[in-house]
């Protein structure tokens, strides 16, 4: 599996960059080492959405990517402990009222809690919120949920304050994350499970090939759909669809010839 860490602040990212030996790719601004990468989104929903939009078109294999948002969060004084790490099971966007639920399917050793994503930092009215408070999680879920299924979102929040902080510089963010780095590593290990990747039948390269064949043979729309469906059946039952290349070597000279060849393909794939 591939893991894409998202943090709002550079100081939140530093312990992760060090632990996984990530190096900055100047072109994409991602910190990368093999299957682990990290993006610093900036603070707040708007910056987060903007930064995530910029990576959508990168050649990221979303089919096998797990999103891990790591960051600090405010917590309720009586229910949370400063320095503790929590796995988020429900995200409420205070502004829109939308609610997001990551699917928690994998065994782990973390306590769970809900989270509210707010627009402005909270420093005086903690009694309004149950669970934790951050400024990015809902934007992450909303921006990436078209690409990532619910079971591949992980939100890890470390309590930095009880929403009563006047001087944010007094919080040693780097140290808070660093203290939890082994727990974060454990989560990566637990989720490094092929069963979590997207269930695809035809690889992107195979879909591309079928499109090429359809174009070359000027297949009708119905024939193209049939070709894809039969190829899927064939792959599920027999493995590789490379055999098709023999049928598509020479372009047909007439519709009749095309239909004749297509009929042969249909028979072969159905056999």
């Amino acid at each position: 599996m591939n893991f894409l860490f998202l943090t709002a602040l550079k100081v939140e990212a530093t312990p992760i960059i060090k632990r996984f030996n990530l190096e900055k790719d100047l072109k994409t601004q991602l910190f990368i080492n093999n299957n682990i990468s990290l993006l610093i989104t900036g603070v707040g929903k708007h910056k987060t959405k903007f930064r995530l939009k910029s990576i959508i078109d990168l050649k990221i294999n979303w089919d096998e990517t797990i999103i891990i948002n790591v960051g600090i969060a405010g917590g309720e004084k009586n229910k949370t402990n400063i320095g503790s790490i929590y796995l988020i099971n429900k995200i409420i966007d205070e502004e829109t009222g939308k609610i997001f639920f990551p699917d928690i399917l994998i065994k782990n050793n973390l306590k769970e809690i809900s989270l509210t994503t707010v627009i402005n930092s909270v420093s005086d009215d903690s009694f309004n919120y149950t669970g934790l408070v951050d400024m990015e999680a809902s934007a992450i879920f909303e921006s990436l949920s078209s690409y990532i299924p619910c079971h591949r979102f992980i939100f890890l929040k470390i309590v930095s304050d009880y929403m009563d902080i006047k001087d944010w510089k007094s919080i040693n963010v780097c140290s808070l994350i660093h203290e939890q780095i082994e727990n974060i590593l454990k989560i990566v290990n637990y989720y490094n499970n092929k069963n979590l990747s997207n269930r695809i039948i035809l690889e992107k390269s195979e879909i591309k090939l079928l499109k090429k064949y359809s174009k070359k043979f000027q297949l009708t729309k119905t024939q193209s759909l049939q070709l894809t469906r039969l190829s899927e059946n064939y792959k599920k039952n027999n493995a590789e669809i490379n055999v098709l290349k023999n049928y598509f070597k020479r372009s047909p000279t007439s519709k009749q010839e095309r239909n004749k060849v297509f009929d042969k393909i249909r028979q072969y794939l159905s056999s």
């Binding site: 639920f101 928690i104 065994k107 299924p149 499970n193």
Partner: protein
């Protein structure tokens, strides 16, 4: 798919509870039963159950429970695809959505975007709706047949929440109400203390062991199902046997022939209420949705025919199924007790 990957959390590790559901007895009973579960409060079950981009088969590795309050309608008229068993007042309800089992031919994978299980805790509202429908049923001289296990296998839950028992008890003083409990469960012993009633019909689905293993994941073995049926018949309950769907594969006739031989030997055929036989059939839209989701099963990647937006096996295969069952059962079960949905 057998649950062999132990990296997944156990089923019901999380229970999502609608705020309005908290006050109901079934909710309390369920939360007591799973006291170690993470409880997450939600305002409306649909906000969790109907989320975009869920993966049904991945979720099957760790099913979550949702406790919700059902809103009207509480009872539905039977559809064409649902077998009415000859009852003109045929209805179904949905005390639970989704199933503990994971049969690869099941339409639920196409019907719902989530594999999580919804239990509606306002049983009383559903009972009231049945009472009301009883009084206005279109054929007043006929009883009302209610299938209570349509979008789930209700009896499979009996050790978790005794909802089948509740419905059976509810039917006791309703002379015009009949209940059908469709199941593959072997948990009949959890109901065996109840007094048998003519009004209740237990419909057990039976398949050869090969189909149980390859297609009916997480279900009880054939042997356990037959034991449960045998006990139900002995106690005096009405039992329907469902061979539905009959799965077509190389040598299916041999396996199904042996299954019927076994049933003739092990069960008292004189006391079987009736038998239904069907083949794989599914609405085109559900079929395509499941196919697209790439389940491990190969059932969605075979050649089928499409008739009136229903995907099913060829007429030739349907004829062979009919012939096999008619021939095998003719000496043991009266013709009018065998119903083909083919």
């Amino acid at each position: 798919m057998i649950k062999s990957d132990n990296t997944f959390l156990p089923d019901f590790s999380h229970i999502y509870v609608e705020s309005d559901a908290k006050k109901y007895n079934l909710t309390r009973e369920c939360l007591d039963r799973f006291s170690k579960a993470n409880i997450i409060e939600i305002s409306d079950y649909k906000s969790f159950f109907n989320r975009n981009n869920q993966d049904f088969q991945t979720q099957k590795n760790s099913i979550k429970l949702i406790l919700a309050v059902k809103k009207p309608p509480f009872i539905y008229k039977g559809t064409d695809i649902l077998q009415d068993g000859g009852f003109r007042n045929f209805y179904y309800n949905t005390p639970i959505l989704n199933c503990l089992y994971n049969c690869d031919y099941c339409f639920l994978q196409g019907m719902y975007s989530s594999a999580n299980i919804v239990i509606f805790v306002n049983q009383k509202d559903m009972e009231n709706a049945v009472e009301k429908e009883l009084s206005i049923r279109p054929y007043p001289n006929d009883p009302l047949m209610l299938s209570i296990s349509y979008n789930t296998d209700l009896m499979a839950f009996e050790n978790i929440l005794p909802i089948t028992r509740s419905w059976i008890n509810f039917s006791k003083n309703k002379s015009d109400l009949r209940l059908e409990v469709r199941t593959k469960s072997a948990l009949f012993n959890s109901l065996s203390d109840l007094t048998p009633s003519e009004k209740i019909l237990f419909s057990w689905t039976l398949s050869p062991e090969r189909v149980v293993t390859n297609n009916e994941f997480n279900t009880p073995t054939l042997e356990r199902r037959i034991s449960a049926i045998s006990l139900a018949i002995k106690k005096g309950w009405k039992v329907r046997l469902c061979f539905d769907p009959v799965i077509i594969y190389d040598n299916w006739e041999k396996d199904y022939g042996e299954l019927l031989n076994k049933i003739i030997i092990l069960l008292d055929c004189n006391n079987i209420y009736d038998i239904t036989v069907g083949v794989f059939r599914m609405g085109q839209d559900y079929f395509q949705r499941i196919r697209k989701s790439n389940p491990d099963s190969l059932e969605y990647y075979k050649d089928y025919v499409e008739e009136n937006k229903i995907v099913t096996v060829s007429q030739d295969d349907r004829d062979r199924v009919k012939t096999l069952f008619a021939n095998k059962l003719k000496d043991y079960i009266a013709d009018d007790k065998i119903h083909f949905w083919i």
